[in-house]
């Protein structure tokens, strides 16, 4: 089933047309490889052990990406929202089974493109390759920043940082998930919030 222009978010269109200066032909051709996929709240887009065979643009909704340790505990690495690209980066690029779970926090509408198609397109349209190379660089920056944050800041500082940088998250993501993202237990987040509210 074909994707109609009216079903694409403005941001999606702008990314290709304005930012990457795609022609109408290039854009339509690119779009023809995308397929829509719905992932209802709490359902998984990907699970550890599976191989990431596609990249997904989040047209609507939000997800959490997490790993599970030997004791069965979840550790949220990041949340993703509209206009983000979604994949288990390592699995996608190595072609090996991944280590990450990607679960919808809100009902998601994704626009997916297979690795096969994308690799073909990246050769045909170098601008597309440049786009994803740029995304890749930004991903390294943000992962490094996250690592440095975890190393340098206390739980309280990480919490205040999150409020400052991404206040919208608190409107859409349950506190228990935010706690996991901050590397503390829900009870500790609760205690921390109380401590902050009284001073």
């Amino acid at each position: 089933m074909e994707l109609y222009r009216s079903e694409l978010s403005q941001h999606f269109v702008d990314t290709f047309i304005k930012k990457m200066e795609f022609t109408e032909e290039e854009f339509n051709y690119t779009v023809s490889f995308f397929k829509r996929q719905y992932v209802p709240r709490k359902f998984f887009y990907l699970k550890a052990g599976q191989i990431a065979m596609q990249k997904a643009y989040i047209n609507k909704g939000s997800t959490r990406t997490f790993t599970m340790d030997e004791k069965g505990r979840e550790h949220i690495l990041n949340f993703s929202f509209e206009d983000w690209w979604l994949a288990d980066f390592e699995s996608y690029h190595t072609g090996k089974p991944g280590t990450k779970y990607i679960q919808a926090v809100e009902d998601c509408e994704l626009l997916c493109i297979s690795k096969e198609a994308l690799e073909k397109l990246e050769i045909e349209i170098p601008k597309l390759k440049a786009l994803f190379e740029m995304k890749q660089k930004k991903m390294i920056f943000s992962t490094m920043e996250r690592l440095n944050e975890v190393k340098t800041l206390t739980a309280e500082e990480r919490y205040l940082n999150l409020i400052k940088k991404h206040p919208q998250i608190f409107q859409r993501i349950p506190l228990q998930y935010i706690a996991s993202y901050l590397d503390i237990e829900p009870q500790s987040l609760s205690r921390l919030r109380k401590r902050l509210s009284t001073k």
Copy 2:
């Protein structure tokens, strides 16, 4: 001053000749852009605030890369040894002043190539671009793994993990730096080691 073949480590030569299948001409041409740079123990290859204008191949020696927080505390992100490529990745790619300090732990002999020259070479020799794209991907994998490690493991587990994965580090890096890498104080590492030795 020119670099002679005999001064290049076998690994450096192999990377280009065997792994990337450079011709002798391509290799010699590439090498002609490299300059040797010595960084004695405790001296800095790069400091926060400076712009990374080059990449360095470590021909000999070891370094530590760290950030400094507002309280003046150092947080070591990683160590680098022979045959690694060295740079403040973010500063190199954004062209903006960096946030990282890179200091020689042992006397270092580096083979450096300017960003300008490398960008030119990457166009002339696509194989070279592919090499650094691959390095970049591996860097993302390892940074993500580090992040996940910091989130999932206790200090003791991170210590045991380091012994298992990189036992050589303990021969070359002072314990105080290893403590910083593990995100604990030197005293805590000492206590932890004692705890482990008695059981």
